[in-house]
Symmetry: C2
Subunit: 275 residues, 2 copies
DNA sequence: CGAAAAGTTGATCTACATCAACGTGCGTGG
DNA sequence: CCACGCACGTTGATGTAGATCAACTTTTCG
């Protein structure tokens, strides 16, 4: 199979998508890195189109996506559906599941997916023992919310063309962080129905909108591979302002807030995030 | 003028909206209550239509709304605007502000507003010393995200009538928790333009939609007072399922995760909270 | 190879936007 | 005190982005 997941003893302990993502935010110490890979120890594969979580059901473990795509979506009783967000490698599902009794949304895989999972109790442990790491995970969670809010802006106030362009640029940016996009092209394992449900449009209209984008030469599509020919222009069509992705490094004040200044800190390991 | 909000000097030390809200989620100890009121010590009044936060600007303090309404909104460069959520008494602004460099949204008051504020560093302190309280605040934050996701479902897949009905029921539920709604009526200090921006509709269409709701007898409007005559039916029109508000009490497993089981428990309260 | 799923395109419909005009309450300044 | 201005609400007429319907093609996959 395609799993060589945990490297027994290479010198790079692990370069998981989550680690990549968090590293784009702050420099993790070796201890933190070790703990993180500890959390990602229990790994499972899930087939495409299977539920990782179902609306209304009790939350189980916290999950980290290591490979593959999924969607977070909500449904109305009559079947209408809204995709809230795309779940990509490095994303976490149910980070705050301890806080809620049951899930208000479903998570369904689009491709085969490799997930790590751990019991929610470890979140508490994490906050106590690795506050900086916890802060990084909280950053990842808060970013999620920011993305949903930005999509809300899309559905409320952007046209179909703008929304679509915006989404493509967003995906490109997110995938780049975890090394899954290069030169403006990436694999988009998504039907037009799912795009429609993500953008609040009909399938037919998504189809026509993609055609417009293709005809204008901004993007190319062959199969599931999408190529963005002119990111700048596409971003401008979608009124894309990446502020909401909060891709810049952790602010200085973070250390003050989240470092564990209670216990005597281990040796010299204190490197502030390099600006 | 319509403010007699806080009770001048009852024997209850303080019953702030935030306390009310958190208490609906878990039973707070006296220590926790004390610390919370400590956090709400520094209080400021803000006039209507003033910004508590501006898109793009650096985050400042964490704020707790004690009285009045505000909106969280995002704008496109050309002026189109989306209201992401309504900020009500008991809500927190910038809970995770330490994590981000700058704000991707604005917060603007609708009425005169009374806010408490404290420096973000105290969040860390809070997590270390009062993990249950921190969990309750995290719950409040996660709920926020759930509300935004639900609104996304509205904009993507509900009709104008459904959206509007849904929003009214949501506000009713949220206000009930902080004792600001009774018998299905409450004050809605909001222009139709703001409703339009919240629901992704035009002003004209909101107006007609409200008229339909009024004509059908589901709601009554006089001035800023709105009366919901038949909550059940209105909820059914809006396909309202309150699951997403996560109004039920904290699950048992929360204690396991967030109680401070590291320090010698119960013996003497280690109150190191007073910085 | 055959059937189902997904994509495509044209014709038509409609929910909502836009435009326009007017009403209504209210604060301000003369 | 009035009047004028302005923000807000209301309603009708008309325009349009995107939905729906329908038919067909292409791809996927067992």
């Amino acid at each position: 199979m395609t799993t060589m997941t945990r490297v027994p003893a290479s010198r790079q302990p692990e370069t998981t998508p989550l680690w990549l993502k968090l590293s784009s935010y702050l420099v993790l110490s070796d201890d933190e890195k070790l703990y993180l890979s500890e959390l990602e120890k229990t790994i499972v594969k899930q087939p495409p189109r299977s539920d990782l979580l179902q609306q209304g059901e009790r939350y189980r473990d916290v999950r980290i996506i290591r490979d593959g795509w999924a969607i977070r979506h909500k449904a109305l009783p009559d079947g209408r559906r809204q995709v809230v967000n795309f779940v990509l490698p490095g994303d976490i599902i149910g980070m705050y599941c301890t806080l809620f009794e049951s899930a208000d949304h479903s998570v369904t895989t689009l491709t085969q997916v490799e997930v790590a999972s751990f019991p929610p109790e470890r979140i508490g442990e994490l906050f106590r023992s690795f506050p900086r790491l916890a802060a990084a995970l909280a950053w990842s969670g808060a970013r999620e919310e920011a993305m949903v809010a930005e999509r809300l802006l899309s559905l409320g106030r952007r046209t179909a063309l703008e929304r679509t362009a915006h989404l493509i640029v967003e995906l490109l940016r997110r995938l780049s962080v975890v090394n899954m996009a290069a030169d403006g092209h990436f694999v988009l394992p998504v039907t037009q129905e799912i795009l429609a449900d993500a953008l609040g449009l009909s399938i037919v209209h998504i189809n026509r909108t993609l055609r417009r984008l293709r005809d204008s030469g901004l993007i190319e599509l062959n199969g599931q591979r999408i190529t963005v020919n002119d990111v700048r222009q596409l971003a401008s069509v979608g009124q894309f302002d990446e502020l909401y992705l909060h891709l810049i490094r952790a602010p200085r004040r973070l250390e003050r807030t989240f470092s564990d200044n209670r216990s005597p800190r281990s040796g010299g390991r204190d490197e502030q995030a390099k600006a």
